[in-house]
Amino acid sequence: MSYLQIHNGQALPFSQIPCLQFSEFRALTVEAITAGQRVCSFFAMPNPAADETGFAHLLVAVLASNADRHLSVLTSMVGPSFQSLTPDCPQFHMFEREIAEQWGIMPIGHPWLRPVRFHKPWNDAPEVWPAESAQLFHIGGGEAHEVAVGPVHAGVIEPGHFRFQCHGEVVFHLEISLGYQHRGIERELTGGPFKKSPYQIEALAGDTTIGHYLAWCRNLEALQKIPVPPRAEAIRAIALELERLANHTGDLGALGGDVGYLPTSSYCGRIRGDFLNMTALICGSRLGRGLLCPGGVRFDLDSPERIEKLQKALVKAAADTQTAIQLLWDSPSVMSRFENTGRVTREAAIELGLVGPAARACGIDNDTRRDFPCGHPLPEYFPDRPTHESMTGDVAARALVRWHELKKSLQFLLELVPALPTGPSKSLLPADKTPDSQPDALVVSLVEGWRGEICHTAITNAKGRLARYKVVDPSFHNWIGLGMALRHQEISDFPLCNKSFSLSYCGFDL
């Protein structure tokens, strides 16, 4: 028995997935991670066979190897505790804290067990946290001090608490404590989908509306066997790249702002809006609310005028980004602040399972769009591979990766928009009722959002309703990367490092 290979966005009967004894599950998982795989998702759910087996919960692990294009899943049954995987595979640390918080299951031997989102367990189990003093890191000594920031910050930004452990001016470690944005979305989805569920998925992280809702649509399409026409897939690809373009542009501008370089900051703030307005040209909403639907898209690029308008806006934005953003690399004062600031080593990034541009900036060439393709077929040159100089793991590398991605996304859209496939923009479903979902099934959808890999796992019960819907935002993997980046830096470099990761608070808090 071993991990079962699955495919991105394809449903399979839950009974096909092997369920191992925990000791065997643990050994196989550690072996796979040591061999270079990484964890996409790891979560617990009530065990449907709890009465017969005596184990109250099921653990489900989804692993991926981008190099081998291998996606796999395995389950195990557990009681009130299990032996933590984190000491052997650090990338499980947050997943195990989450399992402990949601179900009161103790990961024995977890080195840093503390709440993730500060809510009561879903099943009314007793809480498993150690004493509060054992939850936070502390630093001692004459010059040692701690600086606490948040939850309410100085900018227009979501809330989070940051605690810097410092020795003089040097940061030893940054401890990040979130949960302020927790709205309880995942728990609310159990038993669904409900009327309000699609809107909550769109608001999982408002800046990643398309990324998250695309994963949701693909899961429903797999479970309900809804085909998606090629034209709809192309419009979805456009929307996903517009979202990436808007956020990459905005963040590169903000990085300029964080080092006091105002030309790029002020131009990019505006160009970001131009990309959002292109999404609004397609669907009326700047963030792409309501653009997608299971089976396709709700808004077609229906007229030649609309397509021409979009193409013209893209050409203009390509020229504007080129002059605005290239200035960063032409300014020695900017480069001296970006280079060698907030460095994360490749080894640390692999061990912690970082994803997206933050991982690519450490030389980890993972991209869901290429490695687990789904939807519109992509050309050979797209997506971009990190270049040698964009692998230094510092702020400069994270900026360079995003600048290269931005240029490639623009090239891709400039070729795709005038050559859209013809045909319908959504599959025609019977209007009177939504189709039934496949009962007792599992489907995993991976989408490369602008921050990195978005992983949604849906598991249905015997009635075809959602027994569990697990969302992993890229920020869930990457916040610890920011903590690592801050080590041996100054506190004053925090805004710059933070923006170079640009992570989501509500995507993490759910």
């Binding site: 809330p159 927790h182 009327k195 909550q200 703030g269 505006r270 009326g284 989501s504």
Partner: protein, 248 residues
């Protein structure tokens, strides 16, 4: 230096003319709903059935609560007679919660504020209390050269101590409740509270879920309600300009 000047020349002048000239909005924008209750077939509740947030109120005549509406357009897709549709008008802000409920007679927009005490300048502190970063980014964009909020004397500042009021977004999660109240208390009186977005006004799509508070309205006295999910930046700008009397 020459490269910066060349870039400056290429980027050009980008500030919009609003409010002196009408805003240019996307043709598919779902703005102010237009309600023609006379067109409703007898005993038809199709729109209320599909509405995800209960924004279409029960009763004799069709009425819609902008404070709950997500502007998703699901109601217009099922309406057999076109009794409900979304116009391109982005002006939505109201001064009273009750004014957000609209029927066939259209909206009652905000106006008549007495903000003389703040002189010609208002400083806001923004608090995201469970906001999804949708409303937040559309507030942030007001500070770019396109909207250039500071030309009206309105600024978003870093500390509540320096501000005249709060811009609250999000349904006010359980974990942000006390921080929201504390931040408001840190604002010197007299102070303003502006609720931005469906979540802050009514809880939006999270309404009645246990981890949140159905918005900020029962926690703080709200002076201005800006509906939308998220509101278009013009909607927010228009609301703030009504507050200072720049738009009437």
């Amino acid at each position: 230096m020459l490269k910066i000047l060349a870039a400056r020349y290429q980027q050009g002048f980008r500030t919009i003319g609003y409010p002196d000239r009408p805003a240019v909005l996307p043709d598919r924008l779902r703005g102010l709903p237009v309600i023609l209750a006379g067109k409703c077939p007898d005993a038809c509740t199709l729109c209320a059935q599909v509405c995800p947030t209960g924004a279409i109120l029960p009763g004799q005549s069709l009425r819609l609560d902008l404070g709950r509406c997500l502007f998703c357009g699901a109601c217009t897709e099922v309406c057999p007679t076109g009794a409900i549709s979304f116009s391109n008008d982005a002006r939505l802000a109201a001064g009273k919660r009750a004014d957000l409920v609209i029927g066939s007679d259209g909206p009652k927009l905000a106006g008549g504020f007495d903000c003389q005490m703040f002189g010609r300048s208002i400083q806001f502190r923004q608090v995201s209390a469970g906001g999804c970063n949708g409303c937040e980014v559309d507030i942030n964009v007001l500070t770019t050269v396109v909207f250039d909020l500071s030309r009206f004397g309105i600024k978003i500042v870093a500390s509540p101590r320096h501000s005249d009021g709060l811009l609250v977004t999000g349904p006010v999660t359980r974990n942000m409740k006390s921080a929201t109240i504390d931040t408001c208390a840190a604002v010197p009186t007299p102070r303003l509270v502006v609720a931005v977005g469906a979540c802050a006004i009514s809880g939006g799509m999270f309404r009645d879920q246990p981890e949140q508070n159905n918005g900020v309205t029962d926690l703080l006295p709200v002076d201005l309600f800006i509906p939308g999910c998220p509101p278009h930046p013009i909607t927010i700008l228009d609301g703030l300009l009504r507050l200072i009397g720049r738009v009437k």
